[in-house]
């Protein structure tokens, strides 16, 4: 069990100490609370310290709920669909964090939100008829929001919040979009695999998140080659965020992760050593990455958080 490891309580303390007094977490210390780092921190805190008082932080999310069922930090801001999917995923993993009614409303909104469909374009090697989720409504589908949307709907379906009739087709189309956008040698760029005849190169974090969304299709060639890519290339991007997402993904797939875990712990040690000086201070303040790292280091082999 990684939760017994000595570094994790220290990291958890750092995360707790960097929360905003009024609830929630910003992307960095002393920044305004935002949906994404708050969700990751709630997942991390729930893993690292199940008895921690998370009520003020859950309240931050509650305050962001708008009449349509979606969340946005300020009602004048555009609605970020990808982060709403992450909220749904978080709530589904922390039942009791909000009401079932709110979860249902958010999932219904997410199911109905689709962005726009682009015309087919000869210079892109992709099927533009497929739609997943866009970052913002009225824009085009991209890998990361599509992956979180797929994960949230799959979790919601399993938990009985939504029906196969409404969500099944969205999940299926979103997964087909992810498969369609897979890079030639595996993995995912942020959205396109080939533009104007040029193959784009995969990114580790996007690959890890997309693979999580495709757990139900382990035989799919895109999944097979992307897992192979991630297993052989995770060390190309040795940041805490990329290492944390790689660890979460490969552990969820039951792959060997000892080397990634060691590298992530080393990265977090370096972060702690540099805290308070120069550029290291900024790294120490990256709360999104810190929360992902805490989550990754507290997952165990049978963990259900990311498993569908």
């Amino acid at each position: 069990m990684f939760s017994e490891a000595p570094r994790v309580p220290h990291l958890f303390d750092a995360l707790q100490e960097s929360a905003n007094p009024a609830g929630g977490w910003g992307y960095e210390i002393h920044k305004a609370s935002r949906l994404e780092p708050t969700c990751w921190a709630l997942v991390a805190a729930g893993r690292a310290s199940p008895n921690a008082d998370l009520a003020p932080h859950r309240t931050f999310l509650e305050k962001c709920v708008r009449p349509g069922g979606y969340l946005v930090e300020d009602p004048r801001w555009p609605i970020n669909v990808g982060f709403n999917a992450l909220v749904a995923f978080t709530w589904l993993n922390q039942r009791g964090a909000t009401t079932d009614e709110r979860i249902s409303s958010l999932l219904a909104w997410l199911t109905a939100t689709k962005g726009v469909q682009a015309p087919q374009a000869p210079s892109y090697r992709q099927d533009n008829s497929l739609q997943g989720w866009a970052w913002l409504d009225a824009t085009f589908s991209w890998v990361e929001p599509t992956a979180w949307g797929t994960l949230a709907l799959q979790k919601g379906l399993r938990a009985g919040f939504i029906k196969e009739a409404s969500a099944g087709a969205r999940i299926d189309e979103a997964q087909r979009l992810l498969i369609d956008r897979c890079c030639r040698d595996g993995g995912w760029n942020f959205g396109n695999a080939n533009v104007m005849g040029q193959d784009l190169f995969p990114h580790v974090p996007t690959t890890a998140i997309a693979l999580l969304a495709l757990q139900g299709r382990p035989e799919e060639p895109a999944v097979v080659r992307s897992l192979a890519y991630l297993e052989s290339h995770w060390s190309d991007e040795p940041s805490p965020l990329a290492l944390g997402l790689s660890l979460i993904c490969l552990r969820t797939y039951g792959r060997t992760t000892r080397a990634i875990e060691a590298r992530l712990r080393a990265a977090e040690d370096a972060r702690a050593e540099h805290a308070g000086s120069g550029s290291g201070r900024r790294q120490a303040e990256n709360l999104h990455a810190l929360a992902v790292a805490v989550t990754a280091l507290t997952l165990d082999d049978n963990d259900q958080v990311f498993r569908i």
Binding site: G26, Y27, K31, P78, A121, A138, Q198, H203, S279, N286
Partner: protein
């Protein structure tokens, strides 16, 4: 004429550029081609009205003349801090007692590809501005592709440079934001959320790499400001801007932010299928100036583009700065020394200066 495009489509809506995205929205929402054709005359009328008023002329004062410095920098081993200091003196640009925000182009990393502003140029600029009396220098960027800033800083070599300098880095994708009213309306948008750190700086300096761009033809000082739009609000790759028209967005952002200065990294530029997949092209200079439009127009000519044919430059030349050579004074090296003709994608050949090879 370049048209509204977004990643995923290479079709081109007809009619006004800055309502083109609305046409695509309509198509995306299932409006039939017949309905669309019926609506086109109305759109054309709307276009005519809006074209007349994408900005209030009284809000802008295009300089009568602009000065652009072209400074020799044959490679990244030269003392770039010294080169930039000379440029600041040549242009009499004073930053004493003011904070300076440097906005490099730091969008993506792939081993072996020269995609970003070289970190040595950023370090040289930081050193020069501190030496010139700036109270603080910040390097700030919100990459449009990568969102893992720690990885990007380390991989590109920026982290190593930052260690040795009295500068901090700000991730504009994840900074706090505040609403800002747009000062021009080519996009049709009234307001945008921008990073607080950007708005706090006394002096904003664009620090781009000179590259061809497969949607906008060329990216330099002006296009660089796509990177200030916060991804944690608008997503990656800032698709919101693509949907409102790339040229429209460039002009609205620059008109609103009103950057004070630019230093273009044209030591090694990029030609072909930029801004990511192109090829490096040795050009050997830095371009500097307070009028970003004039600097970009000069860079465009130096790489073989006719600036009046680049849509965003043409629009910006109407009210933000000078693109006409007759209104631009040059300092530093003789321009002819660097004149070249970049390899461009076939759809941009019509934008090139006639008579080239």
């Amino acid at each position: 004429m370049t048209m509204t495009r977004f990643f995923g489509s290479d079709s081109e809506p007809k009619g006004s550029h800055y309502i083109g995205s609305k046409v695509w929205d309509a198509v995306g929402q299932g409006i039939s081609r017949r309905d669309l054709l019926k609506a086109l005359p109305v759109m054309a009328a709307l276009t005519a009205c809006r074209r007349a008023l994408p900005y209030r002329p009284g809000d802008f004062a295009r300089p009568a003349r602009s000065t652009v410095a072209i400074l020799d920098a044959p490679n990244y081993s030269v003392d770039l801090g010294d080169v930039i200091s000379r440029g600041l003196r040549e242009l009499a640009f004073d930053v004493s007692g003011r904070s300076v925000l440097l906005k490099p182009n730091l969008i993506e990393y792939e081993p072996g590809r020269l995609i970003n502003t070289n970190p040595l140029v950023a370090a040289g600029a930081a050193t020069a501005f501190l030496h010139a009396g700036a109270t603080e220098v910040i390097i700030a960027e919100g990459p449009g592709h990568r969102r893992d800033m720690e990885y990007l800083l380390a991989a590109t070599g920026f982290a190593d440079q930052l260690k040795d300098l009295r500068v901090r880095f700000v991730d504009l994708n994840h900074d706090d934001v505040r609403p800002v009213a747009l000062r021009s309306h080519f996009t049709g948008i009234d307001e945008i959320l921008l990073p607080v750190e950007l708005m706090k700086a006394d002096v904003i300096v664009s620090l781009p790499k000179l590259k061809t761009h497969h949607w906008a033809a060329m990216t330099a000082s002006m296009k660089n400001f796509f990177g200030v739009v916060p991804g944690a609000v608008y997503g990656w790759p800032k698709n919101f801007l693509h949907f409102h028209g790339i040229d429209n967005s460039i002009v609205d952002l620059v008109a609103t932010i009103r950057p004070h200065f630019t230093i273009v990294d044209a030591v090694t530029a990029m030609e072909g299928d930029g801004p990511i997949m192109g090829r490096p092209r040795q050009t050997g200079f830095l371009a500097m100036g307070q009028d970003l439009v004039a600097v970009d127009a000069t860079c465009a000519r130096l790489i073989g583009f006719e600036p009046t044919k680049i849509q965003y430059l043409s629009w910006a030349g109407d009210f933000l700065g000078n693109i006409d050579e007759k209104h631009i004074d040059h300092r530093g090296e003789n321009l002819a020394r660097y004149q070249t003709r970049f390899d461009v994608l076939p759809n941009f050949k019509e934008l090139q200066i006639a008579g080239g090879a």
